[in-house]
């Protein structure tokens, strides 16, 4: 409905364009909301986008906001409400067509600050769930204060572009309101994953910082952080799970799943079953570490250990195949 500049209007990137305090209603006609492929130093603020989305189950993705690869350093994009159109399944519940997205970011921006993305889907109808609210295929972005519901992933990183890096995501909340959300943040590994936006074109995500990631599912298991590069779902749970911090660094070695990373979360799970995998963390206390299983590779510091073999512990596999805390002498 609105294009911020165009190649015909500006020989060099356009600038100084803004849209604010407005509601855009696409009237469920299959049109997009705001497209910026040409305007740098331009911003969007206080915008409601309604009735926008795809009108069929195939075809190009129709988005509320697209920040395309032709322009860098635009934004910020702040205080945005996206409420997708209802057109896809008129036989029962009116649902949002899968080829609908809230935001697509294909370049460096001045960030997304405050956005609510509402899709309309149903837990039992995965063929009608839009894969992701926010597609992050650009580097060096900050995305913060996000609420999404009715999309499979709230934010998907590196679904279509290889080597997306330098992004920071803060306070990302995936919820089950107008439909389920299964992952608040989904890191792609360059593989096609059913129901998600991850494709063979993406992957190699790096230098990604996640802070304050939350999922609030309703009668289904969901995860705050799904990292396909390392094959873990961090803190999968129902009903509510949080991850205070998950840092994905850079690849270590050449094998898959070898990345520098750190998290404050304690539990990781493989995808598709409940086998516990390690998501190493660093625990601190004034008593000895708890007994029982732990995440292999994790550290634990007892700040009142007083002896050389009761101060620092590492979680290792024992001869019985189970994990336990082992003091570092």
């Amino acid at each position: 409905m609105i294009e911020m500049g165009s190649a015909d209007l500006c020989s060099t990137p356009c600038s100084g364009i803004s849209v604010e305090h407005l509601r855009l209603d696409g009237s469920s006609l299959g049109v997009g909301g705001i497209y910026n492929g040409y305007a740098t130093s331009s911003y969007v603020d206080d915008i409601a986008i309604t009735g926008v989305g795809a009108v069929s189950t195939s075809g190009p993705v129709v988005s509320g906001l697209v920040i395309d690869a032709g322009v860098t350093d635009s934004g910020p994009y702040s205080n945005i409400l996206f409420n997708a159109s209802l057109t896809c399944n008129s036989n029962s519940d009116m649902l949002t067509c899968p080829q609908t997205a809230c935001v697509r970011i294909n370049t460096q921006t001045r960030g997304i600050h405050g956005i609510t993305c509402i899709g309309h889907s149903a837990t039992g109808q995965l063929s009608y769930i839009p894969p992701a609210a926010i597609y992050l295929d650009g580097s060096n972005n900050t995305i913060e204060d996000v609420h999404a519901e009715g999309f499979y992933d709230a934010v998907v990183v590196g679904d279509e572009v290889n080597g997306v890096s330098g992004n920071t995501l803060i306070n990302i909340n995936g919820a089950a309101g107008n439909g389920p959300t299964y992952n608040s943040v989904h890191i792609c590994a360059g593989n096609t994953v059913q129901h998600t936006a991850c494709s063979n074109n993406g992957g190699a995500v790096g230098d990604l910082g996640l802070f304050g990631i939350r999922i609030v599912p309703k009668n289904y298991v969901a995860t705050p952080v799904r990292d396909d590069l390392n094959g873990v779902n961090v803190n999968s749970a129902t009903p509510t799970a949080n991850v205070a911090m998950y840092i994905l660094g850079e690849q270590v070695g050449s094998s898959s799943g070898q990345y520098s990373r750190f998290t404050t979360a304690n539990v990781g799970q493989t995808q598709g079953n409940n086998t516990v995998l390690s998501v190493p963390s660093w625990g601190v206390g004034i008593v000895s570490p708890p007994s029982g299983a732990c995440s292999a590779g994790s550290l634990y510091s007892n700040t009142t250990g007083q002896m050389h073999n009761t101060t620092v512990y590492v979680c290792t596999y024992g001869s019985n195949g189970s994990t336990a805390w082992t003091p570092i002498a």
């Binding site: 409905m1 294009e3 100084g16 803004s18 407005l22 509601r23 855009l24 009237s27 006609l29």
Partner: protein, 176 residues
């Protein structure tokens, strides 16, 4: 001497009414002209016209009175004045004095910047009315354009080509 607060309040109210009547009652009828701003004249506060602030509700373009025509004429006026940019106030445009649907000309949807064969890229700040505006094609904003609505009541509704939207108490439906 004792003066009651009621007397002071009554006196202030009368003065306020007189001032209001002087400001609005004595003003000229609505017409196409620059907006009035305060300025200094001979060391005294005075009114003056400002080309930097244009009331689009009184403008027409080739006789057309839809909101896109009014905005287009305002943008052309800014360009003709030699000003680099201006604030165009469209908040006075409503369903009584204007058509809030931007039409098609020769099957091409018009916008405030492209109206038929007439085009302009003048930078501006456009203050939209708190009314639903129906567009039938994308608005492509030129360099230096700031589009400012009045909140969620200032809507841009997209309608398919050849269709009009009918608004009723906040709801809308298609009429072919």
């Amino acid at each position: 001497m004792r003066i009651s607060t009621r007397s002071i309040g009554s006196w202030m109210l009368q003065v306020a009414i007189v001032v209001t009547c002087w400001l609005f009652g004595s003003s000229a009828p609505l017409q196409a002209q620059d907006n009035t701003v305060w300025t200094l004249s001979g060391g005294q506060n005075a009114f003056a016209s400002s080309s930097a602030f244009i009331d689009a509700s009184v403008l027409t373009f080739n006789g057309a009175t839809d909101i896109c025509a009014r905005l287009h004429q305002a943008l052309i006026s800014v360009g003709n004045s030699g000003a680099v940019s201006a604030v165009i106030d469209a908040r006075g445009i409503d369903l009584v004095n204007s058509n809030l649907t931007c039409p098609e000309l020769a099957n091409v949807p018009v916008t405030p910047w492209v109206y038929g064969t007439s085009t302009t890229t003048t930078p501006s700040t456009i203050l939209l009315p708190a009314m639903p505006i129906t567009i039938q094609g994308p608005w492509i904003l030129p360099n230096g354009t700031r589009l400012v609505g009045a909140g969620v009541n200032a809507n841009l509704f997209f309608a398919a080509s050849g269709q009009n939207l009918t608004f009723c108490a906040g709801q809308h439906e298609f009429n072919d």
